[in-house]
């Protein structure tokens, strides 16, 4: 008997959807667009994050040495660097090499250095941090330690650069929350309205059902099912469309840049579930609100 009732509810919901198909298609379309906007944002966010992570893997640090550094001090520094789990000495740049690099970089302007009696450039170690797990390597701590060691003049690393990206990611998240919040309110409004229209279009039937002894829930559940179907459909369709868009875009990126310079990935499984669940939950909530608010007819 339970089964029979659910059969009835789903049948009623489907009949309802077919009867009000225009309203449903419009509602579904708007919901899908909202979810797509949110999904694209997620996609952008995920990729942005990966790119930063990848760039973070090639973090570099320059340790500038005093001119009068002793071999012992140099060895101490090398020893310290080797102890760092993720750091690797890329190369040692002597004063002469530094000057040569600079000259090469300046090109035609290199004449500026002609007649310079002392080389003003310091020797340095170039470090690379492999696999620093995002931004978790404490570059600041390393810098402070190194600067206390003898023979080190200054330590520079791409801190500002990184910080600004971190700030950007935070901004991204904030914008995501705001856009998401607005979109979800919109989706809620759409579902509530769709179900409200469905209820209004069947008010005669609802009245008669109540008069022949239907309980409130018996009358209400088909509308909840209707909302739920809309949520499930729009969730699945939005994810599929997002994937199609992703396939299209990723082929374009590869075409433009030859080799895939940017590793363009799709949103992970959890985010797909998130989009789907948000869609289902919102539509259920929306129909619940509609059923609660527009039922005294």
């Amino acid at each position: 008997m339970r089964f029979r009732l659910w059969f009835y509810f789903i049948k009623e919901a489907l009949v309802n959807i077919v009867k009000n198909r225009v309203v449903h298609v419009i509602g579904l379309g708007t919901m899908i667009i909202s979810l797509l906007i949110f999904g694209s944002f997620l996609l952008l966010f995920v990729n942005f994050n990966t790119w930063i992570y990848e760039w973070g893997q090639s973090l570099t640090m320059s340790i500038y040495l005093n001119d009068g550094i002793s071999d012992l001090e140099k060895e101490k520094i090398v020893f310290y660097i080797h102890k760092l789990p993720s750091a690797e000495v890329k190369r040692f740049i002597s004063k002469e090499e530094a000057l040569r690099d600079l000259r090469r970089a300046l090109g035609s302007q290199a004449g500026l250095f002609e007649g310079l009696s002392v080389n003003p450039l310091p020797a340095s170690f170039e470090l690379a941090f492999k696999d620093p797990e995002g931004n978790k390597v404490n570059l600041k701590g390393i810098k402070q330690k190194l600067e206390k060691m003898g023979g080190v003049e200054e330590v520079q690393y791409s801190e500002e650069w990184l910080r600004s990206f971190e700030g950007l990611i935070d901004l991204f998240k904030l914008i995501g929350f705001i856009i998401g919040g607005l979109l979800f309110m919109g989706v809620l409004f759409i579902v509530t309205n769709t179900i409200k229209l469905a209820i209004y279009s069947r008010r005669d039937e609802i009245e008669i059902l109540k008069l022949v002894g239907a309980t409130d829930w018996f009358v209400k559940i088909p509308f909840l099912v209707e909302g739920l179907i809309q949520g499930v459909l729009s969730g699945i369709l939005a994810i599929l469309m997002l994937y199609c868009g992703y396939l299209f875009l990723s082929s374009k990126i590869i075409c433009f840049l030859g080799i895939a310079m940017l590793n363009f990935v799709f949103i992970p499984y959890e985010y797909m579930m998130l989009i789907f669940l948000i869609s289902v939950a919102l539509s259920f909530l929306g129909s619940f609100i509609a059923v609660g608010r527009f039922f005294d007819i």
Partner: protein, 276 residues
Amino acid sequence: MIPEDPLATLFQCGNTFLDVLRTAQVDAARFRNMFQLRVSERGYERLHNKEFSKQAICMIQLFHLYKNFGPSLALNDINLKIDEGEFVFITGPSGAGKTTLLRMIFGEERPTSGNILINGVNLNRIKGSKLALLRRNIGFVFQDFKLLPKKTVFENVSLALEVTGEPYPFIRKKTHRTLRLVGLDHKKISYPLQLSGGEQQRVAIARAIIQSPLILIADEPTGNLDPDLTRDIMDLFRCVHSKGTTVVIATHNRELLKEGAQRTIFLNHGRVAGEK
């Protein structure tokens, strides 16, 4: 006083005792089942009830019933008692409060003050799903039929059983039987608007009686029917009545009232003005 045949007396005593027991059992069942009986069982119960319980049971009781619509008083201190199995007419001039009274019995309208007891259950005390269960025990033939134009005759009638969650084969069987009873078996795939007024009336009656209700209420059931059709419809009500259903009909059709020696309650300005 010595009984002639002690064995026979003993037998009789035993029988009486059994009768009392059965009555008590039926009463308990009736109390428990008033709101949750399956339709298929109810006819059975009523049959037994008729056999074993001799005294009439009060089906509808109204105590000091008042109903205001704003400042106007639609019902004014109504006291009424209708027993199980009665056939009652309620009549009176237009605006006397007939429809209002019927709607109160049906739980569609709440009294301003006073109490309504249906089969011993106080309507002031029940709400929500209990009210729905009460309505499954009261068939109501509305003045304007309230049929769904986009559903077939069959669907309109079976709707009243759908809401109970009965299995489909049962619903189908019962709907066919009820349609045959009102003589509309051949019109079951028509839509209400394709039917004549009298036929629509019969669809409305079929929907009202399909749940085998304890009470059948009809509001102006012969409103604009010709005398022949009126007789047909009244025969239908008598048929339902003969199966034990309490029937209450509101009408101002004088012809109807002349016909039988039925109990008739006169309403005027919201008061019981007389009774026949």
